[in-house]
């Protein structure tokens, strides 16, 4: 490294520092997004419950409305299921869910959320109002429990990834310099 001019070494070090920090931030953001999507999922479920119990909206419309209000990739998934299901589309909600997953492969939806949804869609639209709200409440409770159980760990990990990214890059810079 002795023959390399200082400005090139300085530029290389800055690049490594930037890349390390970015990698740490991206890993941290992934964990934070999972928590955020779970929050959106809970919001979507609450909206769905309201649409069903107070507005008596049809399920495709209720899913679309709940998805639009929740936003994010979770909201997009809800809206997609809503638009693919119903008498006009000739599809049950379960069939629409499977098709939505095929059509929306780029969506960043947590696996746990998909598992809850997979069970929920089997019971959506085939029960009376009270039972329907009951099934949504169960899904909501499961999601809340899961989110609270991983939240602390995810936040710790996110902080750690950010620090590790910077430290790892610093280590390389020191070695190179």
């Amino acid at each position: 490294m002795a023959g390399v001019p200082f400005w090139i070494r300085a530029l290389g070090s800055a690049f490594i520092l930037f890349a390390g920090t970015l990698a740490g931030k991206l890993l941290a953001a992934k964990l934070e997004t999972e928590l955020e999507e779970l929050s959106r999922f809970e919001l979507a479920l609450l909206n769905l419950s309201t649409e069903i119990s107070y507005s008596l909206s049809t399920l495709p419309k209720a899913l679309s409305n709940a998805g639009n209000k929740a936003g994010g990739d979770t909201g997009t998934l809800f809206s997609l299921i809503g638009s693919l299901s119903g008498i006009e589309q000739r599809r049950t909600v379960e069939e629409a869910f499977d098709l939505a997953l095929e059509q929306a492969q780029g969506l960043n939806v947590p696996e746990f959320e998909l598992e809850i949804l997979r069970v929920l869609v089997k019971n959506l639209g085939v029960w009376g109002c009270k039972e329907q709200i009951g099934f949504i409440d169960i899904a909501l409770t499961e999601s809340r429990n899961y989110r609270s159980s991983i939240q602390e760990e995810h936040m710790k990990k996110a902080r750690m990834y950010r620090s590790l990214g910077v430290l790892f890059a610093l280590g390389i810079v020191i070695v190179l310099l």
Binding site: I52, L56, T58, L59, P60, I87, G125, W127, C129, E131
Partner: protein, 311 residues
């Protein structure tokens, strides 16, 4: 041009079945295309073969046993994946689907401690195909109207299955459009469709042609509906099906006293039969209805036995 029965089946009804039921029915239709045009109803019963109903007979497809999954899929689709939104309609035992077709349901009722009953486990459907017959009433309108007074208040009388509702629907269409041949101008028609048979509404919108000037109160009790329409819609003619009790008779009398014409149907064989029933006799004897149309099945549904003044 009216649709063929097989066209209606393929477009409105078969997409609501699971693929195995749909395929079996499609194969049967391909095999017996002429018989298929006479289909009146299709019955799906859990654990039993698919049954196709015609007038007075049926065909059973023993090769296809309808499963619980088939029923679940159909239930989900006919309710637009929204069973909860139709719970109250299920209490009536049927729902109307797009196209105006009626689906009857049966299964297990659950009794709640508050005395309420709900149909919870649906195990059978009866799809009754809506057939719209237009222009059947055109020839009788001259008998029921005059250029000076317009359409007369008319009672349509017949036993079940003779075409009362078909005539009522066609009269709504004709009155809403007006009829030049009788110098009848278009009229504002209000329909109280307690059993969803006249206009066959789906989501509040009529699925059958009831004319361009029809206001419909769907699934509303007749007496209540007539009073509501009188207050709110300023109708010239009120049309309703199956007059029965005292409340209905009083509501009709109130409408007629207010200068609105009423066209209604009533179960019965003839005018003597009508005069033997207390409330319809009261309406006829007091002169609320001035014309009558009596139908029978003598030469097939819709045979006109009498049309003219009630004497």
């Amino acid at each position: 041009m009216s649709k063929t029965v097989t066209g209606v089946l393929r477009q409105d009804i078969m997409p609501l079945y699971s693929s195995r039921v749909r395929n079996a029915l499609a194969a049967w239709i391909d095999r017996y295309p002429h018989q298929a045009e006479a289909i009146q109803e299709i019955r799906l019963r859990t654990g039993l073969p698919l049954c196709i109903g015609f007038s007075g007979r049926d065909a059973v497809l023993h090769d296809l046993i309808v499963s619980g999954t088939d029923i679940e899929k159909t239930l989900s689709l006919i309710t637009d994946c929204s069973y909860y939104a139709l719970e109250d309609e299920f209490k009536g035992g049927y729902i109307t689907i797009p196209g105006g077709h009626r689906v009857g349901l049966s299964g297990q009722m659950i009794a709640y401690t508050n005395g309420e009953h709900k149909l919870r486990y649906v195990s059978a459907f009866c799809f009754r195909i809506a057939r719209e017959v237009k222009s059947v009433a055109e020839n009788i309108v001259p008998e029921l109207s005059s250029p000076d007074t317009g359409i007369a208040s008319t009672l349509i009388i017949s036993p079940p299955g003779c075409g009362k509702t078909t005539f009522l629907r066609d009269l709504c269409r004709i009155l809403g459009n007006g009829l030049d041949a009788c110098k009848l101008p278009p009229a504002q028609v209000a329909i109280v469709d307690e059993r969803s048979e006249i206009a066959a509404c789906y989501g509040g919108a009529p699925q059958l042609d009831v004319g361009p000037r029809a206001d419909i109160l769907d699934r509303c009790p007749k007496a209540k509906g007539i009073n509501m329409l009188l207050r709110s819609m300023n109708p010239e003619v009120i049309v309703t099906d199956e007059l029965g009790g005292e409340e209905d008779a009083r509501a009709v009398a109130m409408a007629l006293s207010g200068g609105v014409k009423v066209i209604a149907s009533c179960h019965g064989k003839d005018l003597d039969d009508i005069r033997s029933k207390p409330y319809s006799a009261w309406l006829v004897s007091r002169g609320y209805f001035t014309k009558a149309l009596i139908l029978s099945k003598r030469n097939g549904p819709g045979t006109i036995e009498f049309v003219g003044d009630i004497k």
